[in-house]
């Protein structure tokens, strides 16, 4: 339903309003005539899938990006921001998804940066005093003298919030603030947000988590593919309604899946622990098993150890302890940072569709053909005595291009000129062609349109049916449920449970993904309950 006809507070003048904003990057239209209104004392949720254009919109509202067309109004008056300075001046503060903090500086230095208490000499005591006062006033406990690099993610977010409060911002934008938070931290954040809202601040909250939308927001703007597809009032809508607007592609058509026929154990992971880049434990003592012809889906909010797990399985990150076996052959004996060379792991029969195909899956400037042999360039099929056999490579590439329906149907164009879906087909074609015993597919349909996503899903199921063990890592629950034979839920580096896909529903899994308790209700699942843990 539209806000304009609904009366009440919505009839007031919005404290900030976007009118028909357009933003293009090259030929890509990130925001296509986007409008929204936010009001003082209210929380506006802006929801949409990854790539829907939410961050671009917020970057325009905060002055970091300039719209190509359209208008921004503050309390009814049109404004133009040339830089974030103008946005800050106008009272707009944004907590970015990737924190805008300078790790080697202290909390106080980060907070006052750009608006220091004094010109000339930096008045450190004054800065620390002001930050201490603010953190007291808003219940955001922090020591102003700590260096930001020594703080946990949750505390770093507090620094970000303190920073925009220090600016005196009246309009507070939070870009996916809960993506990196634990449920406990999320609860604390929501308390802060409600407090700020009650003080009359305008809050814009960006997320794709519907539970949070329902819990915290007063009204909702839904974005899809750069366009506004819905303006709703939270009180009179449901998560389902938002979801259907947000996803748009309705739901993926069901992938036709034969009942699995499992073979012998392919992958066995025992007591695996892995350190993150920050030297905290990213993966803690996990056990996993995948049989040939089985898809094991790992469900979890991003950043709960999935990336580290995948990197270790393909040899790019050492494990701190544990073992990994493929068909009884040891891939990794985890003691004090041991790892096997990625090339050896590939030879042993592991293939991987990495989560970010442009960053990790493809050399964008290489032709399709050259990308199709990445990692196999030394195979006897493609090179003899170190000299590439161009003819064989071309013939091979042509076959795969046809087989995976890559458009345009030629192998001599740079892969970077292909659409996202076709790029992903190139990655799939390459990884499938190695006939792996274990195929790792990380976020395999991210950013793909519905047709391409369905193509990828069908191919993954086909691969399973030929007896390949597949480890599917995905943040999208519908993908996990569409493909998996069994589902493992990962949270903070631990496996919260492994279930046959038919024995659980999305809600139960969603609950475990967030550590076993929702933020709203204080209900929790007893993890030791036999129904939810796999008997090994």
């Amino acid at each position: 339903m539209s806000l304009n006809g609904s009366g009440g507070w919505a009839n007031g003048v919005p404290s900030i309003e976007a009118r028909e904003l357009v933003k293009r990057f090259g030929t890509f239209v990130a925001n296509d005539h986007v409008s929204l209104q936010a009001y003082a004392g209210k929380v506006l949720a802006v929801v949409g899938e990854n790539g829907a254009g939410k961050s671009t919109l917020m970057n325009m509202l905060s002055g970091l990006l300039q719209p190509d067309d359209g208008e921004i109004r503050l309390n009814g008056r049109p404004v133009r921001f040339k830089s974030p300075r103008d946005g800050i001046e106008a009272g707009i503060g944004m907590v970015h998804q990737h924190f805008m903090l300078i790790p080697p500086l202290t909390v106080a230095e980060n907070v006052v940066l750009g608006h220091e208490p004094s010109k000339g000499f930096f008045d450190r005591p004054a800065a620390e005093r002001k930050v201490a006062e603010l953190s007291e006033a808003f219940g955001l406990k922090l020591d102003p003298r700590h260096r930001v690099q020594s703080l946990s993610v949750g505390l770093q977010q507090r620094v970000e919030i303190l920073k925009i409060l220090y600016w005196g911002s009246e309009i507070l934008i939070f870009d996916e603030p809960t993506a990196v938070l634990t449920p406990q931290e999320t609860r604390e954040l929501f308390v802060v947000l409600r407090g700020l809202s009650q003080q009359g601040k305008t809050i814009i909250f960006i997320t794709h988590k519907l539970k949070e939308v329902m819990e915290i927001s007063d009204h909702i703007t839904v974005l899809r593919a750069g366009k506004v597809v819905g303006q709703l009032e939270t009180a009179s809508t449901s998560a389902q309604e938002i979801a259907s607007k947000m996803i748009g592609r309705d739901v993926l058509p069901e992938v036709h899946k034969e009942p699995p026929s499992f073979g012998e154990l392919a992958l066995v992971v025992r007591a695996l622990s892995i350190q993150s880049d920050l030297e905290t434990m990213a993966v803690r003592n996990i056990d996993l098993e995948i049989r040939a012809g089985e898809i094991l889906g790992i469900a979890g909010v991003e950043g709960n150890g999935q990336s580290e797990l995948v990197d270790t399985l393909i040899g790019l990150r050492p494990a701190s302890s544990g073992t990994v076996e493929l068909r009884g052959k040891s891939l990794l004996v985890g003691s004090s940072g041991l790892k096997t060379a990625p090339a050896r792991i590939r030879e042993a029969g592991v293939a991987c569709v990495p989560e970010d195909r442009r960053e990790r899956g493809l050399v964008l400037q290489y032709t399709v053909a050259d990308n199709l042999i990445l990692g196999m360039q030394d195979d006897a099929l493609f090179s003899q005595a170190g000299v590439l056999n161009r003819g064989k490579i071309r013939a091979w590439a042509q076959t795969l291009v046809k087989q995976f329906d890559v458009r345009p149907r030629r192998s001599d164009v740079p892969v970077g000129t292909l659409s996202g879906g076709n790029q992903q087909k190139v990655v799939l074609a390459r990884e499938f062609s190695e006939n792996p015993d274990l195929l790792i597919a990380a976020q395999p349909t991210r950013g793909l349109d519905i047709g391409a996503a369905q193509f990828v899903h069908e191919r993954l199921v086909e691969k399973r049916d030929t007896g390949t063990a597949i480890l599917l890592v995905s943040a999208e629950l519908d993908e996990i449920f569409a493909l998996s034979d069994r589902i493992a839920v990962i949270y903070e580096g631990q496996i919260m449970g492994v279930f046959p896909a038919s024995s659980v529903n999305e809600e139960e899994v969603g609950l475990l993904m967030t550590g076993g308790s929702t933020h709203a209700a204080e209900q929790s699942i007893d993890l030791s309950a036999p129904a939810l843990t796999q008997g090994t």
């Binding site: 990130a30 970091l64 300039q66 944004m94 805008m100 500086l105 750009g114 000499f121 920073k163």
Partner: protein, 332 residues
């Protein structure tokens, strides 16, 4: 030890003039190095100190001879270095050119430009010669900058000559090192400079004009490199000759890295490298086996920098965004 006893090393080490020339050598290095610290702390890599120094040296002599005034010569040196830095800053900051490429271009350009101009200005009569008081200076001689002897203090045995019989630019350099250390770590602007070099987007979102700040931070490195060149020309050699900086800009770069992008650290490294140079020069005046290795001693600054960069003696880590052009309009 006994092998050294007749090598001249001990005599050399015991001689105060070794330490006096250490400070003499360290002066231009420090000026260039601490200037570069500001540039690099703001996120702009500067490998062009050599060229900026050389430009400073030429224009110091040029202005000095034309205006009959050494102080104006120094001003011209700083202006010339500053202009070179302005070119580097413009391409590196505003045009987002590769900073290494831009720096190499400045070095080559400066080498060519100064040699070319020296040839066309002094080509027929030869380079100007220093004016040596008390003989009255003629029109086309270089007014040099003589050392200061601080009466009373310069008579202190040992350290008197080392510290109190130095060029005025040496004392200026000492003040600048301290001021720049204070500037970077004790002032509001210094905080912003460091923020721009660590995480320019964070600084931008906090309302700091990153591009302007970076551009302005490149300038002092050129001005101080120019001053270093002016010092070499007017205080040390009293003339200009082609490529007269002979790699000092690169040693300053090494010192800056060795000093971990910190003014005091860079100054310390310059003292060390200056000591190496002074030892090299002084050893030549001695006899004995050690003298035969004096050229090898000169490799020390370079070897030590490689060792430091490889993390064998405390890892030298640059500012996180050093060398990465910042584009405010990108969506990243």
């Amino acid at each position: 030890m006994s092998a050294f006893s007749d090598s001249g090393l001990w005599t050399t080490l015991a001689n105060a003039s070794l330490y006096q020339s250490t400070l003499r050598e360290a002066t231009p290095l420090s000026l260039a190095a601490v200037g570069a610290v500001i540039s690099e702390r703001s996120g702009v890599v500067n490998i062009a100190m050599e060229g900026m120094m050389l430009t400073g040296a030429f224009f110091a002599v040029f202005a000095d001879v034309h205006l009959h005034n050494a102080a104006l010569g120094l001003v011209a040196a700083m202006a010339a270095g500053g202009i070179m830095a302005g070119i580097h800053g413009y391409s590196a900051v505003w045009l987002r050119a590769n900073q290494i490429v831009s720096g190499m271009a400045i070095n080559l350009l400066a080498l060519g430009l100064t040699s070319y101009l020296a040839f066309s200005v002094y080509g027929t009569n030869g380079p100007p010669v220093p004016c040596v008081p008390p003989v009255p200076c003629s029109g086309n001689q270089v007014r040099t900058i003589p050392d200061w002897s601080i009466p009373g203090l310069n008579g202190i045995p040992g350290i008197g000559k080392v510290f109190f019989q130095q060029n005025p630019i040496f004392y200026l350099m000492l003040v600048l090192v301290i001021l720049i250390q204070i500037f970077l770590f004790r002032t509001t602007l210094g905080l912003r400079v460091r923020a721009a070099g660590e995480h320019p987007r964070a600084a931008d979102t906090a309302g700091i004009h990153v591009l302007r700040l970076r551009f302005l931070s490149v300038l002092p490195s050129g001005i101080l490199s120019g001053l270093a060149g002016g010092y070499l020309a007017l205080a040390i050699s009293g003339t200009f000759s082609d490529n007269m900086t002979s790699g000092r800009g690169f040693i300053a770069l090494a010192a800056m890295i060795f000093g971990k992008w910190n003014p005091f650290g860079a100054f310390g490294a310059c003292l060390l490298f200056g000591f190496g140079q002074a030892l090299y020069d002084n050893l030549q005046n001695t006899t004995g086996p050690l003298q035969d290795y004096s050229t090898l001693v000169a490799t020390l600054p370079y070897v030590l920098t490689i060792v430091a960069l490889a993390g064998f003696i405390g890892k030298a880590v640059p500012p996180a965004a050093d060398g990465i052009p910042y584009d405010p309009a990108s969506n990243a």
